[in-house]
Chain length 160, copies 4
């Protein structure tokens, strides 16, 4: 059983013409999994719809509590990329679970997006990794204690 | 470095109106990886464009030879789902590599397809699995020696 | 009010992996109109789901009867391209209506398809044309009495 | 021959993760026409890439001059929806041409967008309308002198 918690981020952005801008919308996760022929063995809960630059300590505590409380041993969290590492590090205190955070550089609602690849990638990571907290982005798995987002290159990379 | 070999299958089918049917076309792999923000660290070779029901022993030997000969330790093979297990088993003699076979139930060229999820899933499987031959389909990893395609349910499942 | 009758054709084809082939499925028309922000002022009826090479005289009579009987003055018919002209010509006896037939060379369910462009094109043709029967394909409007499908070029063209 | 001038607007917006926002990008027009099986009989020129709330009198004069100077009798202009009517009205002085303005409420780069339907709709309008200036949006044709954008309903409608 995989428990999916969605918190917002670019992956879930929707374009609102009335405001001439995007806003974080409903998670597309359920629809993307169905399209990908994944029909059972998971549960999806929307925790919040935040741009990750706006995540607060309370938000991170709410995520930690939900992850900690759930029965599943494997947890996928979709999250904005800007502070994915911070949220990941706040989850290091949770034991007995494999926790993978992923997101996307392009909203899942775009014709061309990294969202579905990243979700599939994270899904396999959840099946195969030992307990711990990981970031799954740009086709690589990173332990959350040794990764950062390189803003200039717009990619995640290992720190020494 | 991930070596990608494409052999055809549903994943690469194209619709030809002149023939009123779908035929295996060029692999979409390069385009899908670029959309998914995966830009380096891999090489793609199209070995053949076959519906997997039409794969012969010569075809399987050609695949085995290409996999065996390549320098990479991680090999992804896209393949039709009907005989993916047979081709996988014929690769058990190749040592020193992690080999993952994947494909799709819906062509990658469809608006709704499991192709990109499966490719992302297989990409992570390649990063994390020890040497051996595996099938990555419907969100699970199977050792090739203990999996079969359940035609009725249209899913891959473990055999005892 | 626009009355939409769907009869099948490439535009509605779906890929069925179990059969390794396409088949005509439910019309995607309602979904495509909603995506295109067209939410009212029309009604959709699925008359049949046929590859147009398999349309019979009874099928064409059923189409003619439905068109003739409906209250709307503007009628859109989605149809396979191979015998679209024949069906169009069988509708010349219907008076007092603007009837436009369209379809697609690539199923609407493909990522890249002419389906939505053709539907939008036909929608405007319905708003602007006088009573009569027309084919709207490859970005042109043809009177049904002077058009044919050029099989080699895979395009519709005017006959002298 | 249809002359296409692109000026920006929602239809051409691209999502830039680095800025956490959508910005007007290259026009997707050429790619959308090719997907729609429209391969010749048109020319595309990018005049500017502006959100229409930022169009100035100089911008409108540049559009008017380009339209006026071109040889084609049929001109399609893609434009942001917020001030499409203003730009349309500034073109009423151009004679001897059928000019249709269209755009989209959702960027063409989204999986679900009204962009392709609107372009197809406008293409037919160009084939069928007499000389003059028109807005083609939400499945209707409006003479530019008697239309406005209803901001609340997010639709174009006829004024008395």
């Amino acid at each position: 059983m995989i428990e999916v918690f969605t918190t917002g981020g670019t992956i879930d952005k929707v374009y609102f013409d009335a405001n001439s801008e995007f806003e974080v919308g409903d998670s597309l996760m359920g629809e993307l999994l169905a399209e990908s022929n994944i029909r059972d063995g998971f549960s999806i809960t929307g925790l919040m719809r935040k741009d990750s630059l706006e995540m607060t300590d309370e938000d991170r505590e709410a995520v930690r509590a939900a992850v900690s409380r759930c029965a599943a041993e494997r947890v996928l969290i979709t999250h904005g990329t800007d502070t994915m590492v911070e949220t990941g590090r706040s989850l290091l205190s949770v034991t007995g679970k494999t926790i993978v955070l992923t997101g996307a550089m392009q909203p899942a609602r775009m014709r061309r997006s990294d969202a579905i690849f990243n979700i599939g990638f994270a899904w396999a990571a959840l099946r195969l990794l030992p307990h711990g907290v990981y970031i799954a982005m740009n086709g690589e798995v990173f332990e959350v204690g040794s990764v950062r987002k390189n803003l200039k290159a717009q990619r995640f990379e290992r720190t020494s």
